[in-house]
Symmetry: D2
Subunit: 365 residues, 4 copies
């Protein structure tokens, strides 16, 4: 397969551009018998939708998903599930100004050099808008994993610029436009965003996601470890620049006696590893962090070149997010769920009849 | 394919265990006509070899690689290249003590739960020893990329515990057992390691690798971006817990005006992105950082359970590295080269006849 | 990927059911810069369309294809091409009678046992209707291969029941509803079909397809030989029961001195091999034959069981083809083109810079 | 992956050339816990070994297989299984004469044009000798399928030249050098071969293989149907020119009323389909036929060109089989088993928890 499919057995192939006719996905390999309707996907789509708060892009898209195949009498049949979401609020004229110049920090220059020309309308295929399809696909994985295995995934904003957010109340993250897991700091985030807006600037962020009730055993060493496939999926999200598992970059400074999670009959004594050992889930919470760069579309003027290679100045207008991280939580969750679903199927394939003599130990955070 | 193959077109499949008969790899998809001999691989293997300094494991292995196929009259034929390295210095008795108990921080428990039993000799397949095969395969990619495209890759230790190392002299990294790019700090590193050894403890590290002269255009969005595939490859290295591209985790605190790399006719003005935009190489240096956890095999006693689930104490003996990061540089380089090679072929496949009207801009760091 | 994607680099993923909302495909990996419009696909779709003659199913579908993505300003961008064809003439009530019983010769029983239940409307995913998506995808390959490499593919009906048809005038095959390459025998075919219709029976067929101007070198031994991948693609067509390359089954009776195609400076002296040696194209015409079983939906009563396992009688009504082979020509061509396209890209990836010292010899049939 | 790996989950990657140091395979994805020793593979290797009768090539190779990894304490661990068989009886001088000329019917010309040069010793990678690795891998699948699922596979020579052989006693096929399933016709086969030998000519053959006790449900429509993957695997065997499933090419002349296999509560009434409907196994015997072309290495002089394109004459000497079909039975069986094993795992992945309300009907031939 080429680059627009993710997953070996639960295969998600996406298509579509920011200002094209539609976005979509084909989800192949979903087990049969799962009850599924468009509404099941809509909730997740709603979470990543733009235009719903004043802190994100003002592009207003209903993001109504249409299931074209793979479901019969309300249940998945095992056939590929075709999903389509129409684009309705394109304003391509906004982009005429960037038609012949490359926005710094965007993929304009690299798409031009790779493909020889580019769909300049809203970034074309490189736009964050295309994650609509990923989120829709992730919602199918979410439903299967929750209903059949009790696995849940939850994400939140753990940092925006200099503001670090603790998961005081992770459930609260879905109740505010910042996905802040600490409701007491929303005012601070609001103030920060408004200040940025005034400066015409943007800021980076960090999103954390946790999957709970993951059975031990998922992951395929050597190369397709669960953490390696998570890293692949997460770094494939627009603007991602770092992926951390468990303690992440901090491990470089840790001692062995500090990092290793001791085992007891009632569970692990800690979870520095983030739920994976040797690339295989341990049964503990699977913990992943993604660092996202600041939106490159800002109103601060900058230098660039045009398609002929001449120097020009650029100021990006259009409808942009001051912090892409604010909409990344559902995308990170979707990726986490897709990877887990794929690995659940891969594990069942090779080890479906394994019975370990060792009891599964309980799973603290 | 299952989990022991990496690459879509330049496919590296590895096999072997720490204390098995041999380690090996099959490299499929290598272009024909490349001059290749065992000696070409030996140099890279030498860099990751144990027992060559007092700061790494004392297991002494010649790591002599044998090319079994795919080369005729000194040149690659296009057929799969079979590589085998024999194990000669196994001391499996060392591991009898851990036969029925799980070492904290190791993959013992997860392998047991996934597969129902495990090869306990030196970690079996989960041992860092198996990276011998990856390094051998990476050396083939290195030779092709250098000879045909002028691409080079170079890595160094950028952190060990609390010690941060700047790339004062990257070439010096190959001249000292710490892979330190700053020769002036070797004494400091030595002292630190000896202190750790006395405590029976270990420490984490961070390795940085940079590929230069990478042409623009490599990477296959959406999911197989160059950075996503790098993240996959790097997180697949034993002990890796974080992968960063360019500014990495720091982007979460950056402003858009600070992060975006402006373009000029003579090159990019900076390289915060680490050489990739939208998942496609920009022609700048490709920069990746990997955080590696401290060795879990330490002599500090710890708590764990046995295979029946009962609590037991454990002290790991055997021949271990106090800092796995010290041997990770050649492995990180190998992974970087394998990913680049694969993407060079993928790019040539889809875009082999593309001519961009835009000149390639020069490439500062 | 799961089972609904074909191709390693030119990846076609299809979705949709006979009586679902729509059929579609995502074509990933198409080189950028190819001029493409819906009309380019429509011609091929027209050839396989039902209801256009009295010799095929009377289901009337416009089969209008919609390109949802991957094309900008009239050219492919390198991004995935989303294709959708709406179903408009479903008559699902026709199928209520087979809801709880398995039609002999159909996939009803096997889908039921694999997935636990099935979409019984018109065969669901197992219907030949879903080849609409394959044909649309194949049309993209056709355009690229013709415009960039001069490769053409042409098919015809080479047998229907006891009637063998010689390629007297292959171009004529597109001018008659039987795809007969011998216009002089159309009356014979008509009479035969009417006789079958009267009996409520159906008949098998054989389709032959030939690709011309194929460059030497396409195919990836060992397992992904060009002939192996053709066999995979062709046997994946509904009703296919045999695939032959060149002389096909006849080789079992040939002598070596008879079969081997001698080489001369001006070309091969014959083409028993069908254009491939060692799984790599020789530059001669690539010749493939596909045997297709008779339509299983016939009005001759038959015995079967119901979903509870009880014996029942069955008579299939609905709108069926008396000979599925009559519509298979465009499908066989599409598969041939998809395989060639994929292998052209695969070859360019590994061997894009190979220069053979040996001249390419000319290519007689 | 490139072209030397077969299987999606049970992945067999082979390497090696006719006159190289060794042949080998890596089998990745084998379920853990299977008892496995080299002797388990040796029996199958023995069946395809040359030099054991006067009717095949006189090259004498012990074909002793070495398991390098993936087995611990006598059982598969789930890690990749590395297999190596050394070449010992190379006589490369035999091939100096063909160094600069292309043998008609062989892959010499196509390898030269694809890769720019070729390993001319015994055909290099295109030699039938490399099927040693496939057979070894197939033996692992055979053991798992038999022990865990009761599936068996058995093949025989069903045609040699003009001699058609009926499966009077399939078990007898392993007892004679022709793999004839009809012991009464061995003399006839012997006479035929001796006559060919005298003429310096060779002849084609047809091999039939049958898998029994296959559960219903294996196969992944659309493209990875069980029959499509079988066709891929079988056409990937050296010299294969046609693959038939069940009635095969004969279906082109059959009526629907004749071909369709009726269902009864006690089983199917016939097996024209060859055990698959809609690309999914029905529970009946899976029946596949492979037509193999005559050996191209014959002593009848022929015309060809040299590497510079000049006309030359050629007479192939060396140690060749007068009928490659005589050694193809174990190879066809191995491919059948590898495909079944892969699809068993794929089915378990997606449908591991499916319970069909319909009873499995019994399975006559």
């Amino acid at each position: 397969m080429s680059g627009n499919t993710i997953g070996r057995l639960f295969c998600v192939t996406t298509f579509g551009e920011s200002h094209g006719a539609a976005l979509g996905a084909v989800v192949d390999g979903c087990p049969p018998g799962l009850e599924l309707a468009a509404e099941d996907l809509q909730a997740d789509l709603e979470l990543r939708r733009t235009g719903t708060s004043q802190y994100t892009s003002q592009r207003r898209e209903p993001d109504a998903v249409n299931i074209l195949s793979g479901v019969f009498e309300g249940k998945t049949t095992g056939a590929p599930i075709g999903l389509v979401v129409e684009n309705t609020d394109q304003r391509s004229r906004d982009y005429d100004r960037i038609r012949d110049r490359f926005r710094p920090g965007h993929a304009d220059y690299t798409y031009q050099q790779k493909y020889g020309f580019r769909d300049y309308r809203g970034g074309g295929r490189s736009s964050a808008r295309i994650t609509v399809a990923t989120v829709a696909a992730g919602a199918i994985a979410r439903k299967y994993l929750r209903e059949r295995l009790g696995i849940t995934a939850r994400g939140w904003l753990s940092r925006m610029g200099a503001i670090d957010l603790d998961p005081v109340d992770p459930a609260a993250a879905y109740q505010n436009p910042f996905f802040s897991p600490d409701p007491s700091r929303i005012q601070e985030l609001e103030d920060y965003i408004w200040r940025l807006r005034k400066q015409g600037d943007s800021v980076g962020a960090r999103v954390t996601a946790v999957a709970s009730n993951v059975p031990p055993g998922l992951g395929e060493p050597m190369f397709d470890r669960i953490d390696a496939d998570l890293a692949h999926a997460m770094m494939g999200i627009n603007a991602a620049k770092a992926v951390e598992i468990g303690d992440g970059v901090a491990v470089a400074s840790q001692l062995g006696s500090e990092h290793r999670d001791e085992l007891t009959p009632t569970g692990f004594a800690s979870n520095h590893a983030g739920g994976t050992l040797g690339g295989i889930t341990s049964g503990q919470d699977l913990v992943v962090h993604v660092a996202l760069k600041p939106t490159s579309s800002i109103q601060v003027p900058g230098s660039t070149i045009d398609t002929a290679g001449n120097p020009v100045e650029i100021v990006t207008t259009g409808r942009h997010d001051p912090c892409v991280g604010l909409r990344a939580v559902p995308i990170v969750e979707a990726m986490l769920l897709i990877v887990l679903m794929d690995h659940y199927l891969r594990h069942r394939a090779q080890c479906g009849d394994v019975v370990s003599p060792t009891p599964v130990i309980t799973r603290p955070r």
